[in-house]
């Protein structure tokens, strides 16, 4: 097991290096000079001086490979340089403020998806072609086709505009400071309900489908027949014997769908005005704030890589065949 985990870790190192390389390259290859865009519309003479200063300040007058090396060596020390925005804050602190919110949202979302998708998948597999199964199949197709930002708008119209039950955006109400501690928690939670509901919806469709598929494959196998033949209750056969094996592929799919879930925060956070990584990324894209864009891209994809790694190792833990056999594709 240790060997297996170490091998996975070794394979992740070139990927990590690749992440930094791609993040650096994308922004360097883009046409137009990031600093020039900052001063484009000012007085020509002044903007030239300012532009040269800025290039020196950020080391943009050096050749590409030197820039990459400088950037990489600062990255190792977790120095992501400063934002281009007038406040000029450290990108590191900006990300540190926002990362916990995005992680919290994604983890809660993931737990909700799993808690609902597993029972839905199992039920529709064990009652294949029943009306429950048909209803979930329809739900899956509609769920796949619904743009999540549109669902967010609809729910906002219904619950925030028409009914006025839930706050429309942000994480806190205007009167946050005047609330008692428990009221503050309640207020915070009520702000999270819509974003989390919407974000879980799409993932739920996918996962319940996979769960159903995986369960269908398992319950056709011989050992399930023999468990039944032994006279075990159907509940035990499905809940214990079948479920364990049916959950195995879900671990992998969980790992594979992480980039998607994290990417989804871009949309959720900008609709609901939640100050997380996704919203920061959209702002930075509009402002062409490239230290923030690079830092954000590296951090988000590194987290995805680590989560994938964890999923791989977890898969090795639950399924001994993986450790012994050749590498999975």
């Amino acid at each position: 097991m240790l060997v297996y985990a170490l091998r996975r870790l070794l394979l992740a190192i070139p990927l990590l290096l690749g992440i930094t390389f791609v993040s650096f390259l994308i922004i360097q290859l883009a046409p137009g000079d990031p600093t020039q865009m900052q001063f484009g519309d000012q007085n020509i003479e002044h903007s030239k001086i300012a532009w040269e200063q800025m290039n020196k300040e950020y080391g943009l007058d050096k050749p590409l490979h030197v820039q990459y090396w400088n950037w990489l060596s600062r990255l190792v020390r977790l120095d992501l340089s400063r934002s281009f925005a007038p406040h000029g804050r450290q990108v590191r602190t900006m990300i540190a403020e926002r990362l916990p919110i995005t992680l919290l949202l994604n983890i809660v979302e993931m737990l909700i998806i799993l808690a609902l998708a597993v029972p839905i998948g199992v039920l529709s597999a064990t009652r294949q072609y029943s009306s429950f199964d048909k209803a979930t199949t329809i739900f899956v197709f509609v769920g796949f086709a619904t743009p999540d930002f549109w669902l967010a708008l609809l729910l906002m119209i219904l619950f925030s505009v028409q009914l006025g039950w839930l706050p429309i955006s942000g994480l806190h109400s205007m009167n946050w400071e005047y609330l008692s501690f428990w009221q503050q928690q309640g207020d915070f939670l009520s702000h999270l309900i819509l974003p989390i509901t919407v974000a879980s919806f799409g993932g739920l469709a996918g996962f319940s489908r996979y769960m159903r598929q995986s369960m269908l494959e398992v319950i056709r196998q011989d050992y399930i027949q023999s468990a039944r033949a032994k006279g075990l209750a159907e509940r035990v056969v499905v809940g214990k014997h079948a479920l364990r094996n049916a959950l195995l592929p879900i671990v992998t799919i969980l790992g594979l769908s992480l980039p998607g879930l994290i990417g989804g925060s871009v949309i959720m956070e900008s609709i609901f005005a939640i100050p997380g990584m996704g919203q920061l990324m959209v702002q930075a894209a509009f402002e062409r704030d490239y230290p923030v864009l690079m830092g954000n891209l590296v951090v988000v994809s590194t987290i995805t890589l680590l989560a994938n790694l964890a999923a791989d190792v977890a898969y090795g833990l639950v399924d001994p065949r993986i450790r012994v056999g050749r590498r999975r594709r």
Partner: protein
């Protein structure tokens, strides 16, 4: 082919999906004829008019007819879907067949590149790229295509790995056919079925992605009408004009749903075996 039709026709949902996709394509093509109003002409007397007999889907902040804008938006959405899938299929087929046919080091390098691109959450990657580009329709098609070929590459590679050991491939190699000829004339045609399915399911995924980017304001820019940027404008006036937020979304939902149904129908009709291998429904934005 005949048996394909028979199997496909039996699947009622897939047929409905197919009919809707054809209708949508016709509507988009005929948009200049069908649109009741000029999609770009503002009318200050009719700002945010609710849906009525003259404006079936209401008007927007500067009085443009929403239905006409949606018809023209359909052209953008479908064009983005088809062209970006074309781009991603081209890259995916090229890299996937190189990797699968050659194996060894070439395969290892290409597959690591696939792994690498997959590690980046898609929207974050797209935002980083789009921040420095002038977002024209062509640019959106290109960036969506360039970031969505990985699935196709993996699929094609897997097909090649199994097909290249087959006898007909060995025979054509033994009579001295070039690598390109073997790939193009012998192996690829046999890998068409799952590829076709993947491409059909890639279209709705690209449409969703374009509408999400336009919704964020980083996709196709106004005055071009797209479903995504009508929704974006609708968000500003969500408390006043629900029709700007509802109708374009229904259009996206219907389009994506019908392409997904069509794609799944083609898959099941081509080869029930593919149910497991080639497939899953396309279409999450992320």
């Amino acid at each position: 082919m005949k048996s394909f039709w028979r199997a496909f026709r039996r699947n009622r949902l897939a047929v409905v999906g197919g009919i809707i996709t054809v209708c949508l394509a016709l509507l988009a093509l005929a948009a200049p004829v069908l649109a009741p109003w000029d999609p770009h002409r503002p009318d200050v007397k009719k700002i945010l008019a609710a849906p009525s007999g003259t404006h079936l889907a209401g008007t927007d902040q500067i009085g443009r007819d929403v239905l006409s804008r949606m018809l023209f938006g359909a052209r953008v959405s479908l064009a983005v879907g088809f062209v970006s899938v074309g781009i991603s299929a081209f890259i995916g087929i090229a890299l996937g067949s190189l990797a699968g046919y050659n194996g060894g080091l070439v395969d290892a390098v290409i597959m690591r590149v696939v792994d690498l691109v997959l590690v980046f959450p898609r929207l974050f990657l797209l935002l980083a790229v789009l921040a420095f580009l002038k977002p024209s329709i062509w640019m959106i098609m290109a960036v969506i295509g360039l970031t969505s070929w990985m699935g196709t590459a993996r699929l094609v590679r897997a097909e090649f790995l199994s097909l290249k050991e087959r006898e007909f491939v060995l025979w054509s190699q033994s009579i001295g056919a070039s690598g390109f000829r073997v790939i193009w004339r012998h192996i690829l045609p046999n890998a068409m079925a799952p590829l076709l399915v993947a491409m059909t399911l890639g279209i709705p995924a690209a449409i969703l992605l374009e509408s999400a980017l336009s919704f964020l304001g980083l996709g196709v820019q106004p005055p071009h009408a797209t479903w995504g940027n009508i929704l974006n404008e609708g968000k500003e006036v969500i408390e006043l004009a629900w029709w700007l937020s509802v109708y374009p979304g229904i259009a996206i939902l219907l389009t994506v749903l019908s392409y997904n149904l069509l794609g799944e129908g083609i898959r099941d009709a081509l080869d029930p075996r593919l149910r497991q291998s080639a497939g899953r429904v396309g279409g999450r934005v992320r």
